[in-house]
């Protein structure tokens, strides 16, 4: 009606303006109806159920539960940013080629992959993903080689390395003045890696290994109705005639003997390493620095306590969320640049910001020392200094790295 009083020309301009407004109006709902999707996948080879304590038998949703919780957290944030996060689970069978899972995810347009896999499988994925615009997040493999000579430019390491863990323990034992170590190492190659890391940490922080033994794995299962009777007789004998020592260090990556050591050694000495006081990235008993909030959310979702692998998966997924919320992008190239750049840091309930080592994409983090019931201490310990970040007193540092990212 009002248009009639206008000149034809003005009416036309008005029409144009109205069309523009309509076009704009159409654009806005279109944009908000299509939130930015950030798709992640989880490839996992379930961990051994052969654990010394039944409390440590992995749950069906071991690891992935942490990623699911972080996906929920990211989606809560995503509501305000018009972003949606998803995580898909792919569980491998023993001996199954992980590349099938990788290719499946790639075909679905999933470009962020959390890997809870042994080191050789992870490397295989990394090399296959190189030309695919896919980023990998290592949520469990601790091998230092993955961060050093075998490092890859498309793999972020959320799990701490073996050397970060043994350094975290060594700092505490040295602070405690328990400097004479009696090392018992298992007979598997993984045990040797762990034992080597213990030796290196001892040397680095001024502890001394006064005696060493190998504990042979003679095979057999962990469960029996009369297990405690035998171990009570076995362990004292296995640890007798040791030189004077302050603490027994167990290097048992395969759950063969470590758990049997505490309270059964010939000498009345504490045990640390793979049993007793363990260096860990996370524990169900950790509650400081607001961690209780994360623990509560996790129990609500998974109906069990959060272990280190759950936590590492949570952190990985939160890192993806952090980068996507800051860059408003789901492009792996943009996400990688943000995570590896100077602006990235993440709050992960361990008392200080966590950042990435730019030279090998390892997440810097404090190491918890726990006995399975409580957190006894958190490393780095006071007094261990570093010119850039005290967190770099843990594990291989930049000047000694063998990593050349490519």
């Amino acid at each position: 009606m009002r248009l009639k009083s206008f000149s034809a020309n003005a009416a036309m301009i008005c029409k144009g303006a109205i069309l523009a407004i309509i076009a704009l109006a159409l654009m806005i709902p279109a944009a908000s109806a299509d939130p930015l999707p950030i798709k992640a996948g989880f490839i996992r080879l379930p961990h051994s159920r052969e654990t010394i304590s039944i409390l440590d038998i992995p749950a069906e949703d071991d690891g992935i539960a942490g990623a699911r919780l972080a996906t929920e957290d990211n989606n809560t944030t995503g509501r305000f940013l018009d972003q949606t996060y998803t995580i898909e689970d792919r569980r491998l069978k023993e001996g199954e080629d992980p590349l099938t899972a990788l290719n499946g995810f790639a075909n679905e347009g999933i470009s962020f992959i959390l890997a809870d896999l042994p080191a050789p499988d992870l490397l295989k994925l990394a090399d296959a993903a190189r030309d695919k615009n896919i980023l990998l997040f290592n949520t469990s493999a601790p091998e230092d080689s993955l961060r050093e000579e075998d490092c890859r430019a498309n793999v972020f390491h959320i799990a701490p390395s073996t050397s970060m863990l043994t350094d975290g323990l060594a700092q505490y034992l040295v602070w405690k003045q328990w400097k004479r170590w009696f090392l018992i190492q298992g007979s598997h190659p993984q045990d040797k890696l762990l034992g080597d890391a213990d030796r290196r940490s001892a040397k680095k922080f001024g502890a001394r290994i006064v005696g060493e033994r190998i504990y042979e794995d003679t095979g057999g299962g962990r469960r029996s109705d009369s297990g405690s009777v035998q171990t009570q007789r076995l362990i004292p004998v296995a640890t007798q005639n040791a030189p004077d020592y302050d603490v027994l260090i167990a290097a048992d990556a395969s759950e063969v003997f470590g758990g049997y050591l505490p309270y059964r050694t010939w000498d009345a000495r504490p045990v640390a390493g793979s049993a007793g006081l363990k260096p860990i990235s996370w524990d169900g008993s950790h509650e400081q620095w607001g961690a209780i909030q994360l623990q509560n959310r996790f129990v609500k979702l998974a109906h069990r306590r959060m272990n280190d692998r759950d936590n590492q998966a949570w952190v990985a997924m939160r890192m993806i969320g952090e980068a996507a919320s800051r860059t408003n992008s789901n492009d792996p190239k943009v996400i990688r640049a943000y995570l590896a750049g100077p602006d990235f840091s993440i709050a992960a309930f361990k008392g200080e910001r966590q950042t990435l080592r730019s030279w090998n994409l390892q997440l810097r983090q404090p190491i918890l020392l726990g006995d399975g019931r409580m957190i006894v201490s958190v490393s780095p310990q006071e007094g261990f200094l570093h010119q850039t970040s005290v967190l770099d007193t843990l594990g291989f540092d930049k000047p000694e790295t063998k990593c050349k990212l490519q």
Binding site: D73, T76, T77, R79, F80, L81, G290, Q293, N296, R297, R318, E322, S325, R326, S345, I346, A347, G351, E352, R353, E382, G383, S389, V390, L391
Partner: protein, 328 residues
């Protein structure tokens, strides 16, 4: 470590001597301090600079706030999932407010009728009618809501969410979110300048304070802290308070054991004041002359003389002091 504690000791000694040298000029106000692990409220006479009473309350008391007339103290008892009401005369708990799960911090509307509280476990801000002791509404916010602030005119409520890393601006009339502003990691406290022109948000893990334009909804500046001899990870800004004239800001720096004094106009840091360990929340005496800081790890409260910018006293309180508020 020895060196550090010796320094702390001498600072305390100096502070005590100073306190002795000063004439007793402070007016008698009452400071309330919540002790997170002590499950109690320490009551401090600000003239005597001493705890006069310790009142047992619910589990894990953190955020506290006084009613407008000062007759009641509202206490977030997080592990009891409630807000307790303490009668400040009789020091008896006289009731509860329906807070929602795990209330952590709270703020009273300018007319004193509504309480806004953050529920850490449920990603909600709960609005409570104080007189009717009823929940009015719940507003979904980001993950782990924490800090709460109101604009001086009471029109904008701000909530920070620690894992979402945002300041959520909420219209108090419609109770809808009007803006979500990303800040650095783990935002803890939010505070408007007294003229309402700026909103400051501290990021504990990020180590910064974001200065937000509350009209344009953008971070216009970030304040960084550098303390010689301290690693940057130890600098964790938490509580923020402005002097009444809006010229100075005080920011608690957590495990850096210091309070930063900032010139609000230039955003330059004038001074770092050494206080107790893991300094957490801050409150002025009503006359603005003194600032009280809760020091979580050293189980004490530091008293800062605002005019001279000196720490004049440490007062031992309960276990893990967290919140502080001071009545007339």
């Amino acid at each position: 470590m020895m060196f550090f504690s010796a320094r702390l000791f001498s600072a305390r000694l100096l502070a005590t001597l100073l306190a002795l040298a000063l004439p007793a000029q402070a007016l008698a106000f009452t400071a309330y301090v919540s002790n997170e692990k002590g499950n109690s409220i320490s009551i401090i006479d600000t003239e005597k600079l001493a705890v006069t009473k310790t009142v047992p309350v619910g589990q894990r008391p953190r955020g506290i706030a006084l009613s407008k007339d000062g007759a009641e103290l509202f206490i977030c008892a997080g592990d009891d999932d409630t807000i307790q009401i303490l009668d400040t005369k009789t020091l008896q708990i006289i009731g509860d407010l329906p807070s929602g799960a795990d209330p952590e911090l709270l703020i009273l509307s300018p007319d004193g009728k509504l309480l806004y509280t953050s529920n850490e476990n449920d990603n909600l801000v709960t609005v409570i009618d104080v007189a009717r002791r009823k929940t009015v509404t719940e507003i979904p916010v980001g993950v782990e809501p924490e800090g709460m602030a109101l604009s001086p005119d009471g029109k904008i409520l701000v909530n920070t969410s620690e894992t979402t890393n945002m300041a959520h601006l909420i219209d108090t009339e419609t109770r809808k979110i009007i803006a979500n502003i990303l800040v650095d990691a783990r935002p803890r406290s939010a505070q408007f300048t007294p003229d309402g022109s700026e909103l400051w948000v501290s990021a504990e893990v990020g180590g910064t304070v974001s200065v937000i334009d509350p009209v344009r909804h953008v971070v216009k500046q970030k304040i960084n802290f550098e303390i010689p001899g301290l690693v940057k990870e130890a600098i964790q800004p938490v509580g923020i308070r402005f002097t009444e004239d809006g010229s100075k800001a005080f920011v608690a720096l957590g495990p850096a054991n210091r309070v930063a004094v900032i010139d609000v106009k230039t955003k330059q840091i004038d001074k770092y004041l050494l206080v107790g360990q893991r300094v957490w929340q801050l409150a002025f005496t009503p006359d603005g002359k003194y600032l009280y800081t809760t020091n979580g790890v050293s189980n004490d409260v530091s008293v800062i003389d605002v005019a001279t910018l000196k720490v004049i006293k440490s007062i031992a309180v309960g276990s893990f002091p967290w919140g502080v508020t001071i009545a007339k």
